[in-house]
Subunit: 398 residues, 2 copies
């Protein structure tokens, strides 16, 4: 029986290779600080479960393919409050941000086409494009520049006749970078010059710690090019509710997105009810969450800057930081931390950086992503373990 080349080519994430070792360590009673996944520990607002409780129809029917009207209106209002005005029929509710990205890829690219992404990028983007036989044109950025964008000329070198879109996350996963106004203007010029789609993954929009963020949705010149990706997962600590959305003002694209929605019939009614509740969460929720993450970010920044030979991006948003470590091989180091190292029977799990690159097998080999989704006390302990690990690791390069 034939197995498709398409799925065979989709890489298994480096973290999956580490999972059995982490499981074994935990089974043996070792505590692991999980810096490897972007699963917030913040409580999900009550508004989610309150709304779910109220939703009890006699027959749990299919929802509308586009999404339930109440949720679409809530999303519209949320964007209006951010200074972006979308029509109700510009908004499509999806099974998480994942499906939103899949729809964006599917509607803008045919097999053999490519999408430009800035490395390091969210590793799962590889799966979303691979499913549709679309390639990635990776533009390298580096730790030494804080993972900011290269010049316009340098970026354009990576665009060819089959390039259909730029996919960018802002605030960035895995870098925590927030692009400057100049960088956004640069992206906008390139997108319009080459008539590309701009797929803006802004699921971390609320996680900004230095107050300088703007959305691509506020740039009117991009209206016909912009495909906005959003999700309630991170914003409201509701990852287990699979509710995202894809939005566009481009009518031709919009008609195709509707067909994508109709094909899979509808999205979970319960999750949509809950998500509609989430959008009523008071602004004070953000303040608390942002204050908490700011403290964590500062804790992390301070700890990393004290480690010799460590270079990191400036974590200004999201809850990740990309870090260059003085080690020979990040996969080996990450494994060693799980199997050969501990302080008081505690260790840390990090995400090897090579999974966030495509342009060369060597890239990311001494980098890792750290998710600061632990409270400050745990984060301090985890950073202490990492610092000691770097001193003792046999393959250290410092």
């Amino acid at each position: 029986m034939y197995i498709s080349e398409r799925t065979k080519k989709i890489p298994t994430s480096p973290i999956r290779k580490l999972a059995p070792m982490a499981n074994a360590a935990e089974k043996a009673g070792r505590k692991i600080y999980h810096l490897n996944i972007g699963q917030p520990d913040i409580a999900t607002p009550d508004s989610f479960f309150d709304a779910v409780k109220k939703f009890h129809p006699a027959v749990l029917e299919y929802g509308k393919s586009q999404g339930q009207e109440g949720l679409i209106k809530a999303i519209q209002k949320y964007y209006h409050d951010w200074g972006m005005d979308y029509n109700l029929d510009d908004i499509y509710v999806t099974n998480g941000g994942s499906e939103a990205i899949a729809f964006a890829v599917m509607t803008t690219c045919d097999p053999g086409d490519n999408i430009l992404m800035f490395e390091p990028f969210y590793a799962n983007y590889k799966s979303f494009v691979g499913a549709y036989n679309v390639e990635i044109s990776g533009v390298p950025t580096s730790a030494h520049d804080g993972y900011h964008l290269p010049s316009e000329a340098e970026i354009e070198k990576h665009i060819n006749s089959r390039t259909r879109a730029i996919l960018i996350s802002n605030p960035g996963n895995p870098t925590g970078v927030i692009y400057t106004e100049q960088e956004m203007a640069l992206i906008s010029r390139i997108v319009r010059k080459h008539d590309l789609a701009l797929i803006a993954d802004e699921v971390y929009r609320e996680f900004v710690y230095d107050g300088e963020y703007k959305s691509f949705g506020t740039m009117p010149e991009l209206a016909e090019h912009l495909i906005m990706i959003d999700s309630v997962s991170k914003r409201y600590s509701a990852c287990g509710a699979r509710i995202g959305c894809v939005m566009t003002k481009n009518k031709e694209l919009s008609a195709q997105l509707l067909k994508c929605c109709q094909a899979r019939l509808s999205v979970s009614q319960l999750d949509q009810a809950g998500a509609t509740g989430l959008y009523t969460t008071p602004a004070s929720y953000w303040e608390e969450v942002r204050n908490e993450y700011t403290r964590r970010r500062d804790t992390l920044k301070e700890a990393l800057s004290a480690m010799p030979g460590v270079i990191s991006s400036e974590p200004k948003g999201a809850f990740y930081v990309m870090v260059k470590l003085p080690v020979d091989n990040i996969e080996k180091f990450a494994q060693w931390l799980l199997t050969d190292f501990a302080i008081d029977n505690e260790t840390v799990m990090i995400t090897p950086g090579n999974g966030f690159y495509v342009s060369s097998p060597d890239r990311g080999r001494d980098e890792c992503r750290i998710a600061y989704v632990l409270n400050c006390e745990d984060l301090k302990k985890a950073m202490h373990i990492l610092a000691e690990g770097l001193k003792q690791y046999p393959g250290r390069t410092l």
Copy 2:
């Protein structure tokens, strides 16, 4: 900005063209009996909402990509009770049956490959294959043979070097046909001879009214070829919960399915909790549901057989029947019923049959699908309206 040929090619369902007319008629106060969609009117079992109520974690985290263990065990037990033994790691929970089919297509076919289907088939299959640039090789069956399968030689004419799978629904949507043991043995021979995958869509398994059904999962010789598609949507009248599953004993395929699951992270936690509850529904639920649908089926069969010039499949399972009508053009007739005809300000909406075919634009032009998801009283009224409509329609051919 480029819009993909891939999505442009995905057909808009014929029913979508009728939707504005139906909306207009309903707005004007006309009652429409909806025979067009497979949305059961049966109450969703309490076990769903009871289980949802109990699920209230502090943080609504991502579920496991493969699915929650409790649900997987419930599915395993359900299959065991049907005489099919699957290991826990053979079962993948999906966003409805839709995603299960998408994963089956994605893992077995590369762009340009094809899947053999028996016409008429569920129109949405076109979207699932179109998304992955896979073609359909349509094998015609006809109303005159009750939509049963043609000979082995005839079927093999539609298999070429790029044929990767047979996708079949049993009980059949839209025909209501249940395949005989001889037909299933024929499918099994072809699948093994040509080393194809058999994608068995058995979401209507419990809707069998004459007691002669067997699952492809009970044929051990198919084990390495079979990809089982299932869903709670129809079975428990829970279409708005997006929970299905894809199952295989083929280890190579299984590894690829896991990657598909990991790419989209996880499935709704609430829906999984509810679905786990659904699998505890007592057997008496089936009996009631089956009795109710048997009455509806009989009501429909009797009414159709009294209509001159009408030929229908023998509705033995699911809750659909495919019907050949004495009309010039089914799309025109369906439209006319909504815009130009009524009895006591009531009319009916049917699904034009041409959307269920690919082999020729002429096929299905005088056929429609009727979903018997209304109670018997409404169904009788609807059949009366249809019969009178056939007498008065200007484009009648009898």
